[in-house]
């Protein structure tokens, strides 16, 4: 008996410490993010061409006839026929909410993808698009819109494939008896430069303004017109990528100790690096497929979270899972309603423009506030 009581504090001590961490900064961050997402979502469902009061919108969101209707969920998630429902619920659930859900998925994917790339390349300026993903996706988007317009129906898939292929090219260029973070980043710059030029060149062959606008929406990232189809497209990949990144958090932590240490701890650094990059590309591709190339989210969010919870990757990834959606949903509110508020026009702008406008100054603020911004 005495032995048992004596050993108990020892075995619970680490768990209590773990709880301390969870209780502190991370919990606050997650709670704050959830509040932002909920508030942003409420704004998104309340405003639009069919006007209703926020309270009516709120009631429609929490309409039990929809939430507890299996057939409705089948319609949303499995593309079955939509059951009959009241008009407000229909507008909220079928038109306005899916856009919020897509924003949540995109935010998660980009933030986690950026966090992984920052560890893999050991570079705090890495983003989901550092290894050529955005330029590959962008080039194929342009090619599809301008040259192979017959493939437009498969644009999301084509864009994701382009990103993944560019990533593989970058890896092949960087490989020489193994890779190194610096060589990976440089190869990313090389491939990015060439693809970017080709992409810009293709704009000259676009013969009508509609194609150009569509291309810009895709290459700057936009959530306009997203609905349940996009949710269905992104959801499985998002779940897989987020699950894998949570599982890979410990590998990321060990990678942060430097290649030599990781190797002497028995890690197969090349394999782990490639696998984790693959997860990050998957996440980025999932977000490109539904929203195009949304910039800055993947760069800013991991920074923001690291500032609050530190660089321990289990906490960092969990933080990104919450903070990414918060930024994305908030930015999409600005993209959808901002112009209306400012100039009274009912035009929507690509959300990528808003994330850039918000992200740039925030990054400047970070740079000014922190002396050692480079510390991962």
């Amino acid at each position: 008996m005495r032995e048992e009581t004596a050993s108990r504090p020892e075995s619970t001590a680490p768990r209590e410490r773990l709880l301390d961490h969870v209780d502190g900064a991370l919990a606050t961050l997650c709670l704050g993010s959830v509040l932002v997402v909920v508030a942003g979502g409420l704004v998104q469902v309340s405003f639009g061409s069919y006007s209703m009061t926020p309270i009516q919108a709120w009631q429609a969101v929490f309409n039990p006839d929809v939430i507890f209707d299996l057939r409705a969920w089948e319609a949303f998630l499995l593309d079955a026929d939509l059951p009959e429902m009241e008009q407000r619920s229909l507008i909220v659930w079928n038109i306005r909410l899916p856009r919020v859900f897509v924003a949540v998925a995109v935010g998660m994917n980009l933030a986690v993808s950026g966090a992984i790339f920052q560890a893999v390349t050991r570079n705090e300026l890495a983003s989901p698009f550092i290894l050529g993903v955005s330029s590959g996706a962008g080039l194929l988007i342009l090619l599809t819109l301008v040259v192979f317009s017959g493939l437009s129906a498969f644009l999301p898939l084509v864009a994701s494939v382009g990103g993944a292929v560019a990533f593989l090219i970058v890896y092949a260029i960087a490989w020489k008896n193994g890779t190194s973070p610096v060589r990976l980043v440089l190869a990313g710059v090389i491939v990015g430069t060439v693809f970017q030029s080709l992409q810009t060149g293709l704009f000259f062959f676009a013969d009508d303004i509609g194609v150009v606008q569509s291309a810009i929406a895709w290459t700057t990232g936009s959530l306009t017109g997203t609905d349940w189809e996009q949710v269905r497209m992104a959801l499985p990949w998002t779940i897989v990528a987020m699950g894998l990144s949570l599982l890979g958090a410990r590998q990321l932590n060990v990678l942060l100790l430097g290649e030599q240490t990781a190797r002497s701890l028995g890690m197969s650094v090349e394999k782990v690096r490639f696998a984790l990059s693959g997860v990050a590309v998957l996440a980025a591709a999932a977000s490109i497929a539904v929203a195009g190339i949304v910039g800055f989210v993947g760069l800013i969010v991991p920074h923001m979270v690291r500032n609050i919870v530190g660089s321990e990757y289990r906490k960092l990834i969990v933080g990104c899972l919450f903070a990414g959606p918060a930024l994305m949903v908030a930015a999409d509110v600005g993209a959808r309603l901002g112009l209306g508020l400012l100039v009274g026009a009912s035009v929507q702008i690509p959300v990528g423009i808003v994330t850039g406008l918000v992200g740039g100054p925030y990054f400047l603020y970070l740079m000014r506030k922190q002396e050692a911004l480079g510390e991962i």
């Binding site: 075995s11 008896n177 430097g258 002497s264 701890l265 028995g266 890690m267 530190g310």
Partner: protein, 311 residues
């Protein structure tokens, strides 16, 4: 050219019995299966201690054509502390990296307890052989305890969470490295010496039979140099861990090591207990220093350097 020089020296050397090999690229006793333990304490643990041996090694880097290190035989005897000493660029770190299988030799084999290290799975090797490299960086907000837990990496499967074994090993490592009071501190708030002890705690948590350390005392103040060396010594004496350690300071090596391997121009120049290896001749030939050596000093051979010898 240098090879010839070496042969010439070995022939004229009265101590040539330790270097029976004609070209002198040997850093091991010529007749050894295992070396004789130097004192009772090591003898006790030497039974399950493990030796690390390299044979016919040629080690280079991808960028170089000539091998940086050539070594016919190098032995870290089981349960003993072996120090690699030599001037800058003599290949001691390169040799150590190759012994830890971090650098694939162009030729030759390295055996851990008789097994090829190249054929061992990387995690399996990391459970038996630990390496603390010269340069390492850590995330600023990482705590000492979290760092120590990373030492358990090779013992944990991909899906495994921290087990009782891991906790026990980390507690022991933290205690042995003497960093209990720093446990919750982040690495960014530690001094250089404290950081080094934290890294040592990590490599101790690995619980390996062989421990290789690359200049663990360089850039540390005297207090922390001694702390690091004492931890290494304790680990060796109490757990029978075989230690290979690159040291910059030959005086320190002479005080703490059971054996010295003196390296010159990528080849082992001499091997043996400090009292035999550390001579005025070695200091002038290998280190290009004019010094007098008091071999009878009770704490090991005492070196008084006088001046650098012109090239």
């Amino acid at each position: 050219m240098q090879g010839n020089e070496r042969v010439g020296r070995a022939d004229s050397d009265a101590d040539a019995k330790r270097r029976t090999n004609a070209n002198g690229k040997t850093a091991a006793p010529s007749d050894s299966v295992g070396a004789t333990p130097t004192d009772d304490v090591t003898a006790k643990s030497a039974a399950d201690a493990v030796e690390l041996q390299g044979k016919d090694l040629e080690i280079g880097y991808p960028a170089t054509t000539e091998p940086v290190v050539e070594c016919e035989r190098v032995l870290l005897p089981a349960g003993e502390v072996t120090a690699l000493v030599g001037p800058n660029g003599s290949g001691k770190s390169t040799l150590l990296k190759a012994m830890a299988n971090q650098l694939a030799p162009d030729a030759g084999t390295i055996r851990l307890d008789g097994e090829h290290v190249q054929s061992l799975d990387s995690k399996e090797l990391a459970r038996r052989l630990g390496l603390l490299s010269q340069e390492h960086d850590s995330p600023a907000s990482l705590t000492v305890e979290e760092l120590a837990y990373h030492g358990r990496y090779p013992h944990r499967g991909f899906f495994e969470s921290v087990g009782d074994d891991d906790r026990r090993a980390v507690e022991r490592a933290i205690e042995l490295a003497g960093v209990e009071h720093l446990r919750e501190k982040s690495m960014k708030n530690l001094s250089g010496g404290q950081k080094q002890l934290a890294w040592i705690a990590m490599v101790l948590a690995q619980e390996t039979d062989v421990l290789l350390l690359d200049e663990p005392t360089t850039y540390l103040d005297l207090h922390h140099q001694l702390r690091v060396m004492e931890v290494v010594r304790t680990l060796n004496r109490e757990q029978g861990v075989t230690v290979g350690i690159v040291l910059h300071d030959i005086g320190q090596a002479a005080r703490f090591a059971d054996n010295l391997i003196a390296m010159k121009d990528g080849e082992p120049y001499d091997w043996g207990p400090p009292r035999e290896v550390v001579t005025e001749e070695l200091l002038s030939e290998v280190f290009r220093v004019d010094a007098s050596v008091d071999a009878d000093s009770p704490t090991g051979p005492h070196i008084a350097p006088h001046r650098a010898i012109d090239e």
